[in-house]
């Protein structure tokens, strides 16, 4: 089974690099094919436009029978993304089909950015703003877009540090200070 999984992942990678769908990119870690880094570009004409959101996809041997675990590394403000970056998406849970590949997963997430489902909120605040105060919602999303422009390396490191130290707020403050440099 594990060879099946790896063959499939190589094939997914090949497909993603030869025929990439617009606005997404992804590749396995150089030393571990079961771990993928991916970037989703915020879809045009949405508050997420111009954002470069990093994700981490973790596969195990049950792929493609089971979906991978997908997590945002960039901080997100979206009704269906939890504070820790995990997301609530039907095709990654009960509606999974083994025919979905990495490209399909990333495209689905991209369209989720465009079209959130505020009825099953993972982030209650975002869902409420999305429904009731679109202006503020857009403002908060734009803030995360600017944050996402930070060097991905830095971003990942910071996230990892923040997670390891359980001191997310201090990190967040620092990141906010750095934001002007990124312009």
């Amino acid at each position: 089974m594990s060879t099946n999984c790896k063959r499939r992942l190589i094939r997914d990678f090949k497909r993603l690099s030869t025929d990439p769908p617009g606005g997404i990119s992804g590749s396995p870690c150089p030393d571990n094919i079961m771990l993928w880094n991916a970037v989703i570009f915020g879809p045009a004409d949405t508050p997420f436009e111009d954002g470069t959101f990093k994700l981490l996809l973790t596969f195990d041997d049950s792929y493609p029978n089971k979906p991978p675990t997908v997590k945002f590394l960039s901080r997100m403000f979206h009704p269906n993304v939890y504070a820790n970056g995990e997301l609530c998406l039907d095709i990654l849970q009960n509606r999974w089909s083994p025919t979905y590949d990495v490209a399909a997963i990333l495209t689905s997430i991209q369209s989720l950015l465009h079209d959130p489902n505020p009825n099953s909120p993972a982030n209650a605040e975002a869902a409420q703003l999305y429904r009731e105060n679109m202006k503020e919602y857009v403002r908060r999303v734009k803030a995360t877009v600017e944050e996402s422009w930070l060097d991905p390396e830095d971003n990942i490191e910071e996230d990892e540090v923040a997670e390891a130290e359980g001191d997310g707020e201090a990190e967040m403050g620092q990141r906010m200070d750095e934001t002007p440099n990124a312009h």
Binding site: M1, N4, R8, R11, P64, K66, P98, T99, Y100
Partner: protein, 605 residues
């Protein structure tokens, strides 16, 4: 009812009378109408005779997994006969509509294509083709397209499918020119065996098997959809069978994998049975771990019937993981570990909660679990500082309180005057009186609850300890066989007595839940009389069982225990019988709103 009451009047005489051997006859004389199986003690060793049903028992039938499968099969054949479809199709249709035959027939007659599509049997056809579907000939033509196709391409093992009569070959044509690559694992080796449902989405057999196994084992899912994105077709049983159980002549695979697949297939069948049972209100799956029996109990299928009956049923199996009926000697030797799988058909309580009906039993359990009683305790045992509202428990000392937090002085008795605590003379002033009033009320309610709860918990605790009592009794029985001339069968009276005590403690436990909710009145007093008689009898028998054994006393002990056991059994029956008739005559009135019953008349409390 009147006869029951007479008995309880006479009980005291039986107790003082040590030679109560004539007790049985005496009781029989008084109400012999429900004593059919009480004639000899020897009969009690038998599993309770099914011929005569008592009013507290309910007709039920235990079904093994195979028996349920037969029921499913007959439903499927019925549908096959009416629609002229294959068994696999009929099974999918029935599962789609939760085994509701009437609705299926109605819907199918109305629009067969729609039902077939939504059940995942056929792919949606373009509207032009679905036009002539109403003629009978189209039904038969559809039958061939719907049959499971196992498309053997490279290996040519498609002939394995037992029922597919040379399916149309159009699916084979495009793939003949191109080598098959499985779109899931991207394997393209020549020995791949591509399989597809009618939708012709082909995947290799390995991927299919892995997919079906993960659905069945990890998700407990019996609906195996086509793996293709947004394809709604569902794999028929025969297709799943072909995936998991290698047909004759198939290449010999890894034996470990084959065993695993066989287990998955068995699990799949179990899931189908569970779905069938869950869809049918007359059936309930035995909740005991690893038991696969089903109980059929049409008498308790409707919610309204649960007001009058307590449907305690038994699936017929005993012990953990036991299947089927044990022989009589096995049952006697099995001890408490081999307890019957008794459960309630009407609710989720996995034990016998007679005599109290499901709604009340559920309410009681909820009350016991809720921390509403914690709040009650706080109310009764603590007071709030009149100034800063901190909660204070007085655990000693005088009535002059000084709040630790705000240093306010107040009197514990009247909650008012401060430093002048010793002259507590404003005893009946309004606000102080109100506070005391509400406090004493909540204390009374807590005491009432605790009265019932303690007795309930006591019987539950005793029932738990019965495992120990069982072991002790077994030891005693061995000793008896050594020290006296009694044979194995002759010392079984001890075991019988322990079993009876255990059973009665369960009844007693629930009578306290019932009494807590019963409205005051004559009915409740009669109920509590019966309860008292049973409890006293059970405690007496318990004491006898615990008493030390001396060889010279064994014959008297045996006589006494045997008599008491019969008496206790009788009292238990009276308790259950009377409560059950009470429910069917709607004699019981509650002091609280109970689902399905009339609202209680407002009493002073």
């Amino acid at each position: 009812m009147s006869s029951d009451y007479e008995i309880s009047d006479d009980d005291e005489n039986y107790y003082v009378d040590d030679e109560d051997s004539d007790m049985i006859d005496g009781t029989q004389d008084e109400d012999d109408e429900d004593d059919i199986d009480m004639d000899t003690f020897g009969d009690d060793f038998k599993v309770s005779p099914k011929s005569k049903r008592k009013s507290y028992e309910i007709d039920h039938q235990s079904l093994s997994q195979t028996a349920v499968e037969e029921l499913m099969q007959s439903d499927i054949e019925h549908i096959c006969g009416i629609f002229g479809v294959e068994a696999s199709t009929a099974a999918l249709l029935l599962r789609h509509l939760s085994w509701n035959k009437e609705r299926l027939i109605e819907k199918y007659m109305d629009n067969p294509t729609k039902v077939l599509v939504s059940a995942g049997v056929t792919v949606e056809e373009p509207p032009a083709q679905s036009a002539p579907i109403r003629s009978s000939s189209s039904t038969t033509s559809k039958r061939t397209t719907r049959s499971t196709k196992l498309l053997g391409l490279a290996s040519g093992s498609g002939s394995k499918s037992p029922k597919a009569p040379s399916p149309p070959l159009k699916a084979l044509k495009p793939s003949k020119s191109l080598p098959f690559i499985c779109p899931i694992c991207y394997d393209d080796s020549a020995d791949l065996r591509p399989l597809a449902l009618d939708c012709e989405h082909q995947f290799c057999s390995g991927c299919w098997t892995a997919y079906a196994s993960s659905k069945i084992n990890d998700e407990a899912e019996h609906t195996i959809r086509c793996m293709a994105e947004s394809c709604a077709l569902i794999a028929p049983d025969i297709f799943v069978n072909n995936l998991l159980v290698p047909g004759p002549g198939a290449p010999i695979g890894d034996p470990a994998e084959e065993a695993e697949n066989a287990a998955t297939w068995a699990r799949f069948q179990e899931l189908l049975v569970r779905h069938f049972v869950a869809s049918n209100p007359n059936l309930k799956y035995c909740p005991y771990p690893s038991c696969t029996n089903t109980v059929s109990c049409p008498g308790a299928a409707s919610k309204s019937s649960l007001i009058t009956v307590v449907p305690t049923v038994s699936c017929g199996a005993r012990g953990i993981g036991g299947t089927g009926q044990m022989s009589q000697s096995q049952q006697l030797g099995a001890g408490l570990a081999g307890k019957e799988h008794k459960f309630c058909f009407g609710c989720a309580i996995e034990s016998d909660h007679r005599p109290v009906v499901c709604a009340v039993a559920k309410m009681w359990l909820k009350k016991c679990r809720d921390d509403s009683e914690t709040a009650n305790w706080i109310k009764s045992n603590t007071k709030e500082c009149p100034q800063c509202q901190s909660t204070i428990e007085k655990n000693g000392g005088c009535n002059h309180m000084t709040c630790k937090k705000c240093k306010n002085d107040f009197c514990w008795v009247c909650m008012e005057h401060g430093t002048a605590w010793y002259s507590c003379n404003r005893y009946d002033e309004k606000s102080g009186a109100d506070a005391r009033d509400s406090q004493s009320k909540s204390r009374a309610s807590l005491e009432r609850y605790l009265h019932y709860y303690n007795r309930w918990a006591n019987h539950e605790q005793s029932a738990k300890l019965s495992v120990e009592l069982y072991a002790k009794t077994e030891k005693k029985m061995e000793d008896m066989q050594v020290t006296s001339a009694l044979t194995w069968i002759e010392v079984q009276f001890m075991k019988k007595a322990v079993e009876e005590v255990d059973k009665c403690r369960t009844t007693l436990k629930w009578t306290y839940a019932m009494a807590y909710y019963l409205a005051k009145g004559n009915e409740k007093e009669l109920f509590e009389d019966n309860q008292r008689d049973l409890e006293k009898a059970v405690e007496d028998l318990s004491e006898l069982l615990e008493s030390p054994i001396e060889p010279e006393n064994i014959p008297t002990l045996r006589q006494k225990v045997t008599d008491k056991t019969v008496y206790v059994q009788k009292r238990n029956e009276i308790m259950l019988e009377d409560t059950a008739t009470g429910f069917s005559d709607s004699r019981w009135k509650w002091n609280i709103d109970v689902d399905g019953f009339d609202a209680p008349e407002k009493l002073e409390n």
